[in-house]
Symmetry: C2
Subunit: 478 residues, 2 copies
């Protein structure tokens, strides 16, 4: 009888012991998540390259996972490379198996694991291809073995599909939640679980498109990442379609969209009959999922999420974010930015923009930190105007802010149009002082900012006088 | 011969005239994008509710689209509701058709449109179901009619599939790019174009899962949005799998993953033969798409994008972002935050965190604006400590920052661990002054901050003395 006392063992304060059998990309990803969430991990892998491969994954995880949180993670756990399965699993509360997808190999690994591990530990296979009933064949304690199927990169993507004995997967779900993951307990075992069946469907359709010369890999990826990928990253498919159905609801949507299923759109044609029973099942599941929101509310949640994610991709200049940056370049030319300052104390317009919904905080107004963001971008525009542009930075020079003082005079709300006027108040060798004024569309000043910058050599990270072009532009002011 | 002189007509400075025939959710989305990007739009729709429906879409678009950009959009175009197709299209450079998906209705609409519109305008159908060759049957100028298939919400999602005459779609692509969209010119016409074929594949598989009781709509959506949806929003499918293939490349990945296609995973089984020719085709397309990056670089781009998008969802407390917030709550308890200040001038720890990769700017260090973000969050923690928590805000009271002064003493890099110590230096009625010190892991001070806040009544947005619990906590300090 497996009834691990997970509640007491899995508090982040307690030290569960994890074991990982098989340290490839997936096994290494598990290692990284366990360690970075503060747990000790024993690894066993016969590959002599395992240590190098795991360290590469760990390096990636260390530079990304901790930045997801506003608090520091617990101290990293201890990683031990073991020379046998026995050594790795003897004291393990959770044994993650990520060895090659061959049933016979997996089954012998479980025999070895079960002859050494505690009876109440969880043996969790990362398999995407096998069902628990297959994995458990001939096992001494079948209920101990479950599927915990993660997604690459395991240290960042939250989803884990759990399949197997309900009590074991219930406990497993509690452990995974505490690792910051989203455990999805699958109701019935089925080949490839849930997500990989969906992925397979798209993969097959993609292969046909390439095979038949309709699209390239790039074009298919673009169709995804500039299109429904953005919707799916936050709502998935059914909640997205619920919105498309409008106030008439999900049943209406299926009745509208349903017939399209019978069109000859694809070579993969077998579809379930859209009986009233199936339609009602979907509609009522959708009500349970999203019924607490009106369609109008869902639209706004969707739109705010899209704005926030697309703005995030802007910072990385990638995908949809790269597109937005291109438009910004055009708009900045249209609005005649960057302007060139004509003299000390002469205010020029350095920003004219709308407050995005993603900048609003729990007080219902633009969070104080985004005032700094607005002024920071305004400085960038002014620096462009005096020649401290990308090329100048590429040559190894730039300005660093040394002191900043912001006075907040009135609130800004999402959608408000603000304008920033900036003047250079001092340009003396490496010293540069700016004065910013942020105005709302009524012309009222919402905030002022004084900013002191130093010119720096980006190689030595030390201050130095500006170079020729910038020096000349500044000299013209005085 | 259709050769619209799009280059000169479609600069954002020039005023192209758009017409929209059919103003439902999709037509309304087009209207919104055209108008907000500064163009005039004529609308024709026989639905007496069209004006209300379009205004609802416009309202959503106005609160989201402008916030995507760091610059103000051009002045909104003029919206004219017309009483006939003739009136709407007579001077239109671009005619967007979004009427019901019935071929006979669409064909008669084109006859009416073509008898009144300029010969060099573009007639772009939003159809997801029909091919250009079907739309063009019996048309007086077939090449003028193309498919421009957008995705809901049209005002935010960039993808538009363009199908039809190469010259017309080339010009259409230029127009759409200037509207901030991503035109995808489809090489050969095919039922449902590209994206909807992929969507259909997932939809069918999803229906089976629900029909067979394997998963609910919520579970399928969760499998998407906590899993591959996050990957697809930034890289799509093939670039993601290229990474999974590792340095061995895409051909290796297909050889590994290929056999799985023949497993009985689904009821939809027809797959193309994985001939060497097909494998090489995919591998070389993938090289062309992503070959400029090593796998290691792609991993880091992927991870940085995921961190940026998931952090963006945190602000909205939605999907993967909601999961992260839950872990943050646990971590804040673990790290004994919020602490309660014991006296005036006593520094307590208000933050201990890692600098995320998404905070780094072109100078290679934490952008100056994020120092303000760190201090703003530190203030929130201190406010929790004196009882100004969510419940207090819900009761209608809180603190607004009035003045902030930051001194930048040293650079912070992605991955650096920083700690913030905060003391209350003044607590006098509605006035509250804080002093923050940010230290790096060597104990050096990276920045200091003085912050002046006022206690406010969130209903009147006016300052007022703090209420009982907070007042008592502050009185204890003095």
């Amino acid at each position: 009888m497996i009834e691990p006392n997970v509640t007491s063992k899995t508090s982040l304060n307690k030290r569960m012991q994890f074991a990982v059998i098989g340290g490839g990309v997936i096994g290494g990803g598990w290692v990284a998540r366990f360690l970075l969430m503060g747990f000790d991990v024993n690894v066993f892998d016969t590959d002599p390259e395992a240590r190098r491969k795991i360290n590469e994954v760990l390096e990636n995880a260390r530079r990304s996972l901790p930045g997801l949180y506003e608090h520091i993670l617990p101290q990293e756990g201890r990683l031990v490379f073991c020379s046998s399965i026995a050594e790795a699993v003897t004291n393990a509360d959770w044994i993650s198996e990520s060895i090659p997808e061959r049933l016979d190999i997996k089954q012998s690994a479980y025999a070895e694991i079960q002859s050494h591990c505690p009876e109440d530990s969880i043996i969790a296979s990362s398999t995407s291809g096998f069902k628990p009933s297959e994995l458990q064949q001939n096992a001494s304690r079948p209920q101990q073995i479950i599927v915990a199927h993660p997604f690459n990169p395991v240290y960042l993507i939250p989803l884990v599909e759990l399949v197997g004995n309900p009590q074991t997967t219930k406990h497993a779900a509690m452990v995974l939640s505490q690792l910051g993951m989203h455990p999805l307990r699958v109701r019935k075992e089925i080949d490839a679980h849930i997500a990989d069946r969906l992925l397979e469907a798209v993969w097959r359709e993609g292969l046909w498109l390439i095979n038949d010369g309709i699209a390239t890999t790039q074009e298919i990826d673009d169709a995804i990442r500039y299109g429904f990928g953005l919707r799916w990253a936050q709502m998935g498919m059914f909640e997205t379609y619920r919105i498309a159905g409008g106030e008439a609801g999900m049943a209406h949507f299926i009745e509208q969209f349903g017939p399209a299923l019978e069109w000859p759109w694809t070579k993969l044609m077998n579809v379930p009959d859209l009986t009233d029973e199936l339609i009602n099942k979907i509609a009522s599941q959708s009500d349970q999922q999203s019924g607490q929101y009106s369609i109008r509310e869902l639209e706004r949640i969707r739109d705010d999420n899209l704005v926030a994610m697309m703005r995030a991709l802007k910072v990385k200049d990638w995908g949809a974010g790269n597109l937005l940056n291109k438009v910004d370049q055009t708009l900045s030319v249209e609005t005649e930015l960057p302007a060139v300052p004509t003299g000390l104390g002469d205010a020029i317009r350095t920003a004219r923009r709308v407050i995005p919904s993603s900048w609003v905080d729990y007080n219902g107004h633009m969070n104080d930190s985004h005032y700094g963001e607005v002024f920071s971008k305004a400085s960038d525009v002014l620096l462009l105007g005096i020649g401290a542009d990308q090329e100048y930075v590429a040559r190894g020079y730039g300005y660093f802010t040394v002191d900043l003082q912001i006075s907040y005079l009135s609130e800004c709300l999402a959608g408000d149009v603000i304008t920033v006027f900036t003047s250079i108040t001092l340009a003396d060798g490496k010293k540069l002082k700016l004065s910013h004024e942020m105005k709302n569309s009524q012309g009222d000043i919402c905030a002022t900012c004084s900013q002191f910058l130093l010119h720096v050599d980006l190689k030595s990270r030390k201050s130095c006088p500006p170079m020729d072009s910038v020096a000349a532009a500044l000299a013209d002011l005085n």
